[in-house]
Symmetry: C5
Subunit: 377 residues, 5 copies
């Protein structure tokens, strides 16, 4: 999230995956039982469909949802309801959970960090504010920034088959795949429920990663609170707050769905999953509280900034008021001898002018000394 | 709640149903047992009364309480106490719960969203403030707005009969009716208690809908907090706070009544309902806490707005003070040479005037540079 | 608590009963067992004393503690310790609880609302501030106001006899008396403990009534927070806060005494009372928390008021500063041509004066336009 | 803590006992078993030492630690470690707890209120601020004030002997002594543990007394918050906060020591003490929370005071700014006719001067009316 | 942390050990079983390696990680994974915990106080701010200051061997070594797990020491809050806040690691350690909450400071505004008689000038009296 070493180069760009040009769709599967496991990247949906009646566990992963026709065909061949397919393809939805006769369906939002170099500003999105500290003039250039991207993952859990539909192609589940291939832990002996749990656990882990990233950002904001007088500082804080709200809205529905699942019992076939679920729910709860805490933290940081700024402004005002307070009495003295009375004895003395200048000088000096003694500046 | 796409067009209009011209009264019933179910919209109360001694479950729904005579006749024929009927007809009451020998009575407030196009402002209600962001000049036109309406529902639970008296005709219970007709779940086998529970559950669901609607509104307010300087902004916040209080006052008595019910045991005949009730109470508790949280949130949003506004005001003051601080010393110099001393050597020099003008220019320039260097503007 | 319909006419007057001219003392008793019940208002203490060895339950109620002699005689005849009688008669005490051999003694503070028309201000109590919104000039007139009066009740619990000593004559226990006479519920079969519990329960109910009354008052204060600039507003808030403290101090000792009682076991003879006590304590706890919450609420309301007032003040300051900022440069121009240099070519031109006036007009106009464009006013 | 009746005469003087001239040392003992009890004030340590091998319980109380030699001799004869004696004599320590083979040792801080008339200010302690509201000029006089004094008590618990070493002679344990002599409750049958418990319980009771005293003080401060503009008010609050910190630091270590004791089991010989200890710990916990709550309360009181003061200051500023805003335009008009242009037609009219005076009067009047209409003053 | 007695000389310098010139590496071991114990400081790693197959418990302590070659050789001979050795040597890491087949590895951050006299500022580290209250000019001199140093300790737990790798040579574990040598408590009979626990417990104790140190510092800051107007005060607070964040980040990962350990069960071989661990986790939790509390405390202290400063600034502004408000009307009067009207009757009177001077004096006096009466200064 830090761009270069400059203090002001913090970048937090929540980008909805939908805004990013869709990457190629990638298809892959893992086919395994307790004895063997096979993984393959395939180019056509048909290679996968023919494996569906196999007695082995089959995990099909679809990354990038570009080839809508293939996905629909896959859905049909596995008897997935067209509405579910539509939910998977439409990426502007809230997390949801549905139980069908033949399968159970989970829609989850992920928050991931992504390095990218294309320039999203040149696309003309003017409504989205970019919280660059200072160097706004560079925002139209191609810069190398870490981005927090909110994407969507659809999970369809059948008896022997698990399908994951990822909006963006990413290596997030590589670790789970490796675990299966290398037969680490219990995974090969477990059913599709456990695999689904592992995937959700992975996603929750990513939530915490982005929350921690944000913590650093907030610490940086706090540090600047008493020093900065950037006009964009307040906007940066507001932007971060808004982003935290987005994160919360990605996390909260998942938590509620998992809570419902853990109560219903009918979602997962085996009870073994339950303690894992409980753990996940606790973690998500913790994450939500963390986000709430950050929002309050930011509020207090903003208050500190405004207080410090106000105080500094008032110090400037004091100096300006002092200038006025010194010259107004002097002007008054000048004003006296600017009066046109015929009988003003001082006016005709030969040193009157110089004496009055002296008096003015004296008054100014006395006032300055007085202010100095009182430590007013 | 969002009117068009304009950022400032947030509308939250708590309208008491009593203020809306009463719609026609609609009468309908469902007559069912585990084997069959029949539903009918009827025009006369007599069609319903003759069904009362049937052994089937009978749910009578009265929407719109216009035909007072019919309602009283219905009450008499079912041996409902006249005071209960009065409670049902009078819509300015708090939620209540009463146990009679032959029936139990619940009065519940609902909060619902309603699209309407008539213009409530043209009715001359001046006391009620309309929190339109900016375009107050349009408030006298017929506008299409989402409204949050607080209405009242009376529920009379007898052994085989359940009566619902809705202040406004609305489709809220359509889902339950459908469930009965299509025999989904256990509903046809359950008694009137369970039906009552389902209705209350539906109402609680609506509470959450309106609370979520308000959350969006508050988020919008928060976003504007550091930018707006509308005079109506503070009023909008106060109005939303007041509205939250109304929502809380609709929810709280229901919670307390349900709590009393869950303790008394005698309200519902079967113990089966208890865990459902417990769940409802927890949800209502959660809703009340949410509302409290929103009120605090709004307070902090208002504080931020006032702080930002004050800071901006002070920045203006600084510029004004700078203007004074620059011209007051200059005036002083002019004042010196406006004195009428006879012996002022500078006055008689031929370039004195221009030199003094030059000095004035110099002083002003030095001060501006000084302010600039100090980053005072 | 609302006086008329004016928004500013909120009146909360905590009045200690001791300040009110003592009303006549009223004596009454109820004599009952499970079979029969008899109630009578008597004029002389002797009528009561002769009933004391009856086997029936005897509840003696003394309202208004004027006839000290009679009370002392009553105490003597029932073997009540003189110190207890003194506690009863002295009304400036904290709630207390004492266990004697023959009886147990509870001193409780009540908070009740009382309509009265006499004018307490004409009594010359200058120290007690009256939080009238605006119309302080009326405070010396006879006004019809709701008052919250803090009084004291002494309860002496013997085996078959219960004595209540009320500082003020009031109808508070009428409901309990009716219950006994009409033999509703279990009351006639229960011992004096249960009667004592019912009385305390009634008092706790009154606490909640006054707390709810205060809630309305605070809501009204909150509503005015962003609008009012009354000097008395802050005082009203402080007064309400002080009043809340009084309420808390009436409630807290009772709670602690009940807690002690519920632990000691020896206070009430039967264990049956315990769950009722537990309930009472929870309610009192809730009431105390409510009062604390109201105090914090008022603090935040006051802060909002002060912030809004400050902001409005600053807006006035801005206009004043603008007037100065416009005229000071103009004065400077006038000052230049007020200088007495001999060689000032402009002075001798025939239109110089009018040109300078024009320049002044121009400068003022430019500044006003500048301020307007910058939206400074 | 209230000095006289004046509102501003609140005095809270935390005085460390070490600062007070040591009083005479007083020695006394009680010698008792379940049958008999004997108490005596003795002048020499030897009278006590000879009782040490008695089978009766022996409680030796040493008040005022002046005669160091005697105390050391007492320690030696009872085989108390010299380090323990040193801990007892040195009064600037934190509460501590130590277990030795032959005895257990507790060092406790007490907070007591003490009426005294000597003037501690005349001793020349300039560093300690006296939070007198207003009448600082009287602080050098002998005034009769309540003081909160922090002293130290060392408790040595042996099998049959209990020693208490009080820094200051005070009547705090008179009640316990009386209980023993009059054989009230179980005390004579219990061992030294129970006696130690009673002493600690007494000390904890004193903590609550001083906390309640402080509560009154804080209430008084809160009441003054919106009215006072004393410069010392903020200092009073800071002083009270500091004092609360002292109280907390006296209480906290005792709580932690008791917690350790209640876990270790080996400190007290009998398990009977445990529930009493648990109660004490809860009470101390409550006291610490109370103190924390008071500190936060004071912070919010200070904020209110500063907000109100700022607002009042700003109102003064507004009036001053108004004076400037009225006279600056007038000066400008005068300035115009002070210009020296040769062709200024108005100057030669005979009523020009008076017309200009009239215009000035008009301008001033219009401005004042404008300010008045706008309710600016 | 206090430097001398001056109030402003608070020093909190979080220094990462990595910044301090590495001290000599020291090697020592203790070799013990329940019968005997032997401790020795050795100069070469080989002396230690030959003890590894001994059946006794062996604790090897490496202080100062300078001789990388020896450490690597030690690792190899004990079959420690090279990555673990790298973790030990690299001191910029977070706390971690890893389980290997032959050993378990813990990396812990310690916070210790260290007296030192060298001047770290002369090393040219300009980025790190030194929160000296006032006397910044001395920071380049060699001063004797207490420092809080964050170092790292690696702990490798094998069956019979425990290795500790300390970044800095320090006497922290001297107490544990002594306990072993003197055979106090159960330590000699316990396994390496227990020894590891004792070491972590020691480190946690040090955390609390530094937290308590910080508390004093914060109390000092709070005391100065209403008095100081140092520009560095705010920076000191920010610096302390930042430091608290560092402390929290040292503590939090250890807590999470211990939590993981206490759940996994496989980390420690014996279950006996569990209750100890639970205690440690509670303590760490308490420490984290304490740190959070301190951060909030500092925020409120800063707010108080800013409020007080603002108020004092405004008081200065008021005096300045008064000076202007007095002289501007006087200037106006002078301005009137500076007008050049031909017909100004006052000008030709002989005492006009002195009367006007008198009027000016009068106006000034009246204004001053008015301000004084209103208590404006």
């Amino acid at each position: 999230m830090v761009l270069g070493k400059s203090k002001y180069m913090q970048v937090v760009n929540p980008v909805y995956a939908g805004d990013i040009p869709a990457s190629e769709m990638k298809l892959s599967y893992i086919n395994y039982n307790s004895d063997s496991a096979e993984t393959k990247d395939v180019s056509s949906i048909d290679e996968v469909i023919k494996l569906k009646d196999d007695s082995k566990m089959l995990w099909i992963n679809v990354s990038g949802l570009k080839d809508i026709e293939s996905i629909k065909r896959l859905g049909e061949s596995l008897e997935i309801h067209p509405l579910t397919i539509e939910d998977i393809l439409q990426t502007e939805q809230q997390a949801k959970m549905e139980i069908f006769d033949k399968y159970r369906f989970l829609l989850v939002k992920t928050i991931m960090q992504k390095k990218n170099t294309f320039c999203h500003l040149s696309l003309g999105k003017k409504k989205f504010f970019l919280p660059f500290g200072k160097d706004r003039r560079f925002t139209n250039m191609n810069i190398n920034t870490d981005e927090l991207v909110i994407t969507q993952i659809g999970i369809v859990i059948m008896k022997n088959i698990l399908l994951t539909f990822q909006e963006l192609s990413r290596g997030a589940f590589e670790g789970i795949r490796k675990k299966i291939m290398e037969n680490t832990g219990e995974i090969r002996r477990m059913e599709s429920d456990y695999l689904a749990y592992l995937i959700i656990d992975k996603i929750v882990g990513e939530y915490f990663d982005s929350i921690n990233h944000l913590e650093e950002h907030i610490e940086n904001l706090e540090e600047r609170a008493t020093k900065t007088s950037d006009d964009t500082y307040i906007e940066e804080i507001q932007e971060t707050k808004k982003y935290l709200l987005l994160v919360k809205k990605a996390i909260l529905p998942l938590k509620e769905n998992l809570l419902l699942i853990s109560r219903q019992e009918s979602f997962f076939q085996t009870g073994e999953i339950k303690p894992f679920l409980q753990d996940l729910i606790e973690n998500l709860d913790h994450a939500v509280m963390q986000v709430e805490h950050y929002r309050e933290w930011l509020s207090s940081v903003m208050e500190v900034n405004l207080s410090v700024l106000s105080y500094q402004l008032n110090k400037v005002m004091k100096v300006l008021a002092m200038i006025s307070a010194i010259f107004i009495p002097l002007s008054f003295i000048a004003g006296i001898y600017g009066m046109n009375f015929q009988n003003m004895p001082e006016l005709s003395t030969s040193f009157g002018y110089f004496i009055v200048l002296g008096i003015m000088f004296l008054v100014a000096t006395v006032m300055i000394i007085f202010f100095k003694v009182r430590r007013w500046f």
